[in-house]
Assembly symmetry: D2
Homo-oligomer: 470 residues x 4
């Protein structure tokens, strides 16, 4: 069962290669090339503005950097892992292209502030993309909610039928979750969009740099306040991973429901073909693969969060190489979250619900029991007593295999004299929903109000999230 | 090695008792009694205002609730775990005290919205206390930084001597971390201080409640938008735990440094007696127990965060009993974090540093090598070349057991002709620090500026964090 | 919304008290008193045997320690947190009782090896208790499996109906999980039951101790091999927490199914009254509270595992105070796991299944589709082709609202000529199960064989797990 | 700061592509091709042996599978992600090569048991490789320990100097950790090397398969006992990840020490050139990059463990698509752990220690204080009293800036009359170490004994771990 090539031939050449693979980060951080080049261009311009470089030198550098970017984007660039990382790869090629002046680019900076700047720009862009994904997700939910304002659904607590709600109300609960996530991203950006450029290795630099200028050029909102913090802070990644973890958790809850509702015993939902797959052995199967996978992927994102927390715990100032382990997790999480949002938004828009199955499930669960209890309270009983009486009537109906609404008035009165003919109106499901007029409740008007609020929100955020292209 | 009482005698009575212990939450949620009673009072007043109760009934309830609170605070209250939780314990005693009207209190609400409200108030108060702790911590750091603006310290990257910095700059890096934490708490509060009262079990209620009134009475900033979300949302706890985790991580980094610096090979620091302990076997020991424990406790808080993430993953709407597992972790984390902040703030204020040991460590680590490289760049060499030349000179000095500043001009010129007499000024540590004038850098002025900013911030936040009592 | 007592009045007395609370561990480790006293008695006897103490002194110590234990067990012992931990509390009281000789007990040992020994004994006992819990759990499952060898159940993959199985086969899958857990505990014990006594603070001791004697007295299986490892190793706790985490995960999967099956849309199960509770607002509810809570508690145990991993990461040798954070998590996990196993074992024995609902669910899900495909393969078609044909027939039946077995022979032949009258026998559910004769499969005989194996296993392990008291 | 291509143009084609990327696993599971083909060959042979296929058909399949393997290994195979996974890719190509008989290969199996078998073989091989890595690591440590049996080192508790030990003893503590890890892998293998083949989709199969034959052909130790468990069990992955997590934690502790010891204030160690790197800005730096990175990677492995725990929690039987998320984490962990072990083993062998620096550190820390206390006990004082007296003498020496051994007899006697001329022998460091004769202690003989045990162990395991090639 084993493969015998391993662990023998321990020549130092082999180990050198292994160490190189172990320590180099080009494989991972080459995806920051755009950010890295943008930072270098801004740095070069700032150096010229401050008189550290001549205008001509800066021009040469900027032009050279543009050429490097072109080469990368045209696939003509040769990445060398012996150059360790994206920064050295870019600078090395730059120097080949522009000559000795290329070496002046690194004046007044260090890879410590450089990588932090690249990564912050990268994270910020990804957060924007997540916001756009959330916008689409919320839009999908609100479209379905709009279409299902009258659709009744058994509301569950403990996965037991509790009270009738509308499908719209249920879907709008998720809208609230994703709106919170959207807010959290906005808050997180305040701490991401801070430029570390100028902190150099850890202590700042002796060159007369203008960090505010570089930051402004690159679209950062703020400049670092302390150079030692600037190069060792990775809170912004932790916070990004946390926000992602919460979003994935919200998605996992929605997935769980899609999986339950697709089970034929529920039958509330038929998953659209593109999002479900068959079985290689069981010809009748239609499996909710996409929601299952997405539910599972919530685990991965939590893992990435834990990993970084553990990396950072107990690290002394300032930069330590452990910090190199900050990127893979974020990149993986971004890939997972961004596609999860896009796919779930698209899927949500085409979900086909089965209101008939929902209604049947609602009826078989005494979902109007609370109505009866409330009815008794309206008749003047204290709530706890009304609760006890209703319990007795539910048991009675269950014994007879009937719904509460099917019990005769005499039977009802037998348990409590205060019950009267008007009880049947109270037991109607539609009416039960209508009666929950409290703001935020499942009543039709309250739901209509929520829907309008969401639409307004979607309109407000449209510009930043979706261009004109929705 | 075993104890033989376990697992035999499996009588159902024993199991019943076991299940009761397993499911009851009074042990944990009784610490919410103040919040629970406050919510009930606000609810009663609102019910009267809306005409659901008479003014007289509301008065009786409010008065009764005040008596329950008194009994609890005087230790006269008998907590019964068979009443399951704080809500039922309070309501049960209330009904004993005020009679049948006590049962009317539960009208239009459910334990689902009640526990969410109690918990949100509780979390919000704890977050305020954490903010106050951060304020003290920042104050402690800024006091020490103020006293050590001239103290030089070897700045480390990779735990290797890198460049000279001031102790003030080092401590102010932590100020930045804790200020971000403070900001994060403010952001988190926006999502904590939302009232769920009125959501009832999951669907809202048929009574003409006024959730906005109750929310305002209790000092909430907003009212829930969707009832199903209101009873199943625990994001606010996750976010609180995350913020706590980040703070503990920051503390753990500081602890790591205190531990390192207390080691006699470093010797930068002597821990104050109250925060270190001896050994039962080794009479010479002075152990940094408090920082060690605090570093360890960062693990616990991460564990609590992971626990809740895992609890919430994949839960269908709305309330599920799994959610009962949301409290212990937060309470534990609060206990840990709040005392960690208080203790570390107090300890920070009385830390005694040893500038002499710091200076010796700085000298033995070629901490002016970067100065030499920069000097060479000022003389017109490209940075990469200056770096190579300096490397050669460091090797030369190391061979001779000297510092760079101890090499003769001839030796220096032997490696690079551009070096001149003015190199010795460049190699001076004090001057090296002074030269790092870039905003946010370790230069004396830049640090002075940071200090003023912190003092302003402390003044601004003083009212909300520390009363007049600092 | 805030409580104003916090964070003011920062008198050093208050801080001292706070630090004492922060660092003392008596609250937690007093639960090791039995182990601590047993270790001390063995140590005293060994010291006498080696001539370090006189026999008389050892007698006095042993006798005194027995008195301390009595006092503790009779509630007469006063625990003092200023004495820091269980060891000092016990020794202090011992010295009060026996005078100056009490101070000699600590000869040749340290709290570092002492706490490790206490904790290892404690963990070992808890692991034994978990094994006993697993035994009960397996017994409960095997009793139910024995009773349901003929009960048919829709087997799910992707929570979609897949193939008919027996309820026995389903329950026996859990037996396999818990048997693996049992094995894992046995493996873990090999690394727990190693005595660290004699390692002293970190380096061993100069007294002529006999660690093998002490270990044997206390029932340990092995003696430590390296003193520095002995005082800093906490792998045994990690491994215990890991094993607990896996068990809780297995329980959480079972809980998920109990919750699903209790939902009226499934209706496969009625939870016994002692393990479900009602709703304070909805009189018809019967909530699966115990399985929900247990599912949630899996999160807590994972949290405890993560916490300890994070504590241990990157700790230099040997003992560090961070290690004090190793106990609470294990104690919490033990409390959770031990009661979970006892409760679930008891619940499993009294679960009432509804075979009729299972059968109905099975029929509505084309659970004999694989049978049809296999039938076609037996008729000579390649599997992939048989799969395609069956798919077409499922679609046909679905359109007509029929089961496959309700399609006429002509209709069947219309899709594939190889189908014949014998197809109906193939489509029978009972027969379908019977046909899966492969060892380990769901066929009746194969299940019967599994059951016998389990009974044999239960018998084998009975002595060690359950005394004669089952 | 943003990239505008995202999230617009939401054409269904684009989504289809996205879903395909999201759900396909070829990218990951193609690394199982060897295992997959081996399983298929064994399955084909078994089918022939049982009469389900003809011998000729089986020959065709086996031959075809060998060709597929060749194509893959020669880079001639075209992986198609639209074929979803490694199984379908292989089977598809097989059918192209051998025609219709290719479709018969899938008879009596499912991707559910197939993927479990592939993965189990893969994990088992990786565990073997880890064992080999541990063997090398232990060998490296024992070589260094052998060379440093006489080298004295300050033993630390709380990172404070405690008692003198030998460097050998310190390194042998790690040997114990890695030996436990080795044992854990052996235990884990018992649960990994179980064949699931024959379980089919979940229920077993109607074909007369012989799972024992297939298992034996593939080198598995056991056959599954329950088909439903066989396809949904992923404990073996969890356990593998846990074992890896513990190993990485052990490595992280060693890394922490290498980093500390490389700091010039310690100076105990000079990292070999191949394992440290320079700075782009600070020419004097020699950074312990490899140990730092390795310490950081411990976080990643913990993250992978948490991820899978979270994926598995609460999953109902049997196979769910969430389980597809089991592979990436293990593959990533394997890559990390396997190279970490190889690199650290190689690095350990070439570490260069500085005994002189160790000795100096030892002297400045009163590392003979325990000796003095023990000396006093030998003179008849109770331990607690001896401890107090020593404490007073340490304070006295500290005040005078002397070591204990430098105090005059008169000064010593001034504090305790029992002290005599022989105290100076007791205070000698070398003698102090020699005196710790207790088995497992730091005494020279005790360490010699440990070393012999390790060498014996290395010899015993040589065959299975290292071929003849060490």
């Amino acid at each position: 069962m084993t493969d015998k090539k391993m662990w023998d031939g321990r020549f130092s050449g082999e180990i050198d290669e292994l160490v190189l693979d172990y320590t180099e980060s080009t494989e991972v951080d080459r995806c920051f090339y755009k950010q890295d080049i943008a930072c270098s261009k801004a740095h070069a311009r700032m150096l010229a503005r401050q008189g550290v470089l001549t205008e001509e030198e800066a021009e040469q550098l900027v032009h050279g950097l543009d050429r490097v970017r072109s080469e990368i984007e045209q696939g003509a660039f040769v990445w060398r892992k012996d150059l360790e990382d994206v920064h050295m790869n870019v600078e090395h090629r730059l120097t080949e292209l522009v000559g000795k002046v290329g070496q002046k680019l690194h004046t007044g900076r260090s890879r410590n502030d450089q990588v932090a700047a690249d990564f912050r720009m990268y994270v910020s862009e990804k957060l924007e993309s997540w916001s756009a994904g959330l916008w689409q997700m919320i839009r999908g939910l609100s479209l379905q909610a709009g279409a299902h304002q009258e659709t009744l659904l058994p509301g569950y607590t403990h996965l037991q039928p509790a009270q009738p709600v509308t499908l719209a109300q249920h879907l709008l609960a998720y809208v609230q979750m994703f709106k919170r996530d959207f807010e959290r991203i906005e808050d997180c950006q305040k701490r991401v969009r801070v430029s570390p450029l100028g902190a150099a290795a850890l202590a700042g630099t002796t060159y007369p740099l203008d960090p505010a200028f570089t930051a402004a050029q690159l679209g950062f909102d703020r400049v670092f306040a302390n150079s030692m913090d600037a190069v060792s802070d990775r809170d912004f990644v932790l916070e990004g991973l946390f926000v992602a973890g919460v979003i994935m958790n919200h998605l996992s809850r929605f997935c769980e429901e899609l999986i339950l509702w697709s089970n034929p015993n529920f039958g509330f939902l038929r998953l659209p073909d593109g999002f479900a797959t068959g079985s290689s052995i069981m010809p009748q199967k239609k499996n909710p693969d996409v929601p299952e996978l997405m539910r599972g992927k919530a685990g991965q994102v939590l893992g990435d969060l834990v990993a970084l927390f553990t990396v950072l715990k107990g690290l002394p100032l300032t930069y330590n190489r452990d910090l190199q382990e900050d990127k893979q997790g974020f990149i993986r999480t971004d890939k997972c979250l961004d596609s999860s949002l896009r796919i779930m938004a698209a899927m949500t828009k085409v979900l086909v619900f089965d209101p008939d199955r929902m209604r049947r499930a609602m009826k078989s669960g005494f979902l109007n029991a609370t109505e009866l209890a409330d009815y008794l309270v309206h008749k003047g009983l204290p709530f706890r007593e009304a609760h006890r009486i209703t319990g007795r009537l539910v048991a009675l109906a269950e014994d007879k295999g009937l719904g509460l609404e099917d019990l005769g008035l005499k039977e009802l009165k037998g348990v409590s004299r205060v019950i009267d003919e008007d009880v049947y109106a109270a037991l109607d499901y539609q009416a039960a929903v209508a009666r929950r007029k409290v703001p935020g409740g499942t009543g039709f008007e309250a739901v209509g109000f929520q829907l309008k609020e969401v639409e307004k929100w979607l309109e407000d955020k449209k510009g930043s999230c979706a261009g004109g292209s929705v």
